[in-house]
């Protein structure tokens, strides 16, 4: 079962809209304040990446139910330039020391599952899940 909603990312204001959507869903699902803030931060990072590097894209939030567990799924999809060196962007210190924020390793840490598919010249699709414990 999944319930879905999404936000197009075109301007910086859309980052805030995506955050708001994610926080609402997280709250509704019963996540506590800290987890709400973490989920929102992850969404913020992903939306910012789209805004900064792909120009436009979409953040989708889904409610998950699996084996009696509830969770939230963030999908960040764009048709931007893609990432040529995944190993590098997933490396600690690569993005943070450059001041770009938590970066993708940060998103991975904030959530429980993290998957990335990217093709250079075609775009990037990132899926991150957090389960309610």
């Amino acid at each position: 079962m999944s319930d879905e909603s999404s936000v197009e990312i075109l301007t910086e204001w859309d980052i805030v809209a995506a955050r708001q959507l994610g926080r609402n869903v997280a709250k509704e699902l019963g996540f506590g304040t800290v987890d709400q803030a973490r989920i929102t931060t992850a969404i913020s990072e992903l939306a910012r990446n789209i805004y900064l590097y792909a120009g436009k894209g979409r953040i989708e939030i889904q409610q998950l139910t699996e084996n009696g567990l509830k969770g939230i799924l963030i999908i960040a999809a764009d048709s931007g330039p893609g990432i040529s060196d995944i190993r590098q962007v997933m490396e600690d210190g690569f993005t943070t020391s450059g001041g770009l924020g938590a970066g993708l390793p940060g998103v991975k840490r904030l959530m429980d599952d993290f998957k990335i598919e990217t093709i250079v010249g075609e775009g990037t699709d990132i899926r991150a899940t957090k389960w309610l414990r």
Binding site: V16, R19, Q20, R23, T41, G93, S97, G101
Partner: protein, 333 residues
């Protein structure tokens, strides 16, 4: 500077206190990034926070201020842990520079010259999984119609492997005869490795010697991935097995030696286990998959075949090679 940051903090907090919107939280969180970049520690954040709240709501009871003081004390150790992160990042950066330089030295040190032989087309590729390559190809040739090739894999990775390899290189250098027999080459290198390297390090090696006049490859193996022979006439693949212990296990190890005569279109495929032990999401990539890849390109130049096999295996594994990848193809033309 600190004063300016405090003012900014107060302003951002004040906006949030007036209206608890997502927008105001977004601004706050972006600001927290800047604070981290400016090395503002968490105890300083709490202290700024307390100061700002005091200015905005000085009527709050004392318990609120005490509670913040307690938090400041709690955060001191967190601040220290963060400073440690800074110095670890710096160390990591320095080490990266050193590793790059070392990889560079290794490359120059271990470079080998492709032999030019009548009737033989050679393709080769060696790609490390990490910074330093633990696989090694070395050619011994003297323009006398013979060419030796060693394909080696050090068990273990990184620096220790790199050091061990430089030893093999100089060992091979000291042989300096392209007509040396595989079983003798393997014995000599075995004794060098056994003598010089501690017990935890082993090397597997395939040694082949090609006699251009006879179009004959004589070969031996020290516990190495078997080479593959592709017979163009029969359109068949077969393994070239030869018994022998890994180098460095026992100084008395002896090595088998066999020979095959090559015919036009035949391929000898020499490699390390990084080629055959790739994995995709479903598990190990079957040996047959590699045969199929080679067959598709068998009419092409040896270097084209080698590159094609690498590209396809890389695609199958999502560019995530777990081990160093080394592939050498001899094509009889």
């Amino acid at each position: 500077m600190i004063h300016e940051i405090e003012n900014q903090y107060k302003e951002i907090l004040n906006e949030y206190m007036k209206k608890q919107t997502e927008q105001n939280l977004y601004v706050g969180q972006n600001f927290s990034r800047q604070l981290i970049l400016e090395n503002i520690s968490p105890e300083e954040v709490i202290s700024m926070h307390k100061g700002a709240i005091q200015e905005l709501y000085d009527e709050l009871p004392d318990v609120v201020w005490h509670s913040f003081d307690f938090l400041i004390e709690m955060m001191i150790n967190y601040g220290l842990a963060l400073q440690e992160r800074q110095s670890l990042l710096k160390q990591q950066e320095e080490l990266k520079v050193e590793m790059d330089l070392a990889a560079n030295v290794q490359e120059t040190l271990l470079k080998t010259k492709l032999p030019l032989l009548e009737g033989l087309d050679i393709g080769l590729l060696s790609i490390p999984a990490r910074k330093m390559n633990g696989d090694y190809i070395y050619f011994v040739s003297e323009h006398d119609g013979y060419a030796g090739v060693a394909v080696a894999d050090v068990i273990g990775k990184g620096l220790p492997a790199a050091l061990c390899m430089s030893m093999i290189k100089f060992g091979m250098d000291s042989l300096s005869s392209s007509q040396a027999l595989p079983k003798d080459v393997l014995s000599i290198i075995n004794r060098i490795v056994e003598k010089s390297v501690d017990d935890s390090m082993f090397v597997s090696m395939f040694y082949g010697n090609y006699d251009a006049k006879k179009a004959r490859l004589t070969y031996g193996s020290a516990g190495h991935e078997p080479a593959i022979l592709y017979r163009a006439k029969d359109n068949e693949f077969m393994e070239l097995n030869a018994k022998g212990l890994l180098l460095g296990v026992s100084p008395a190890a002896v090595y088998e030696e066999h020979a095959v005569d090559l015919e036009k279109g035949d391929l000898v495929i020499m490699m390390t286990d990084g080629v055959t032990e790739g994995r995709n999401e479903e598990g190990f990539i079957e040996r047959e998959v590699i045969y199929e890849l080679i067959e598709r390109k068998k009419e092409e130049a040896a270097q084209v075949i080698v590159q094609y096999v690498y590209d396809e295996l890389e695609r199958m594994q999502n560019a995530q090679f777990q081990d160093d990848f080394t592939l050498v193809i001899y094509k009889k033309v």
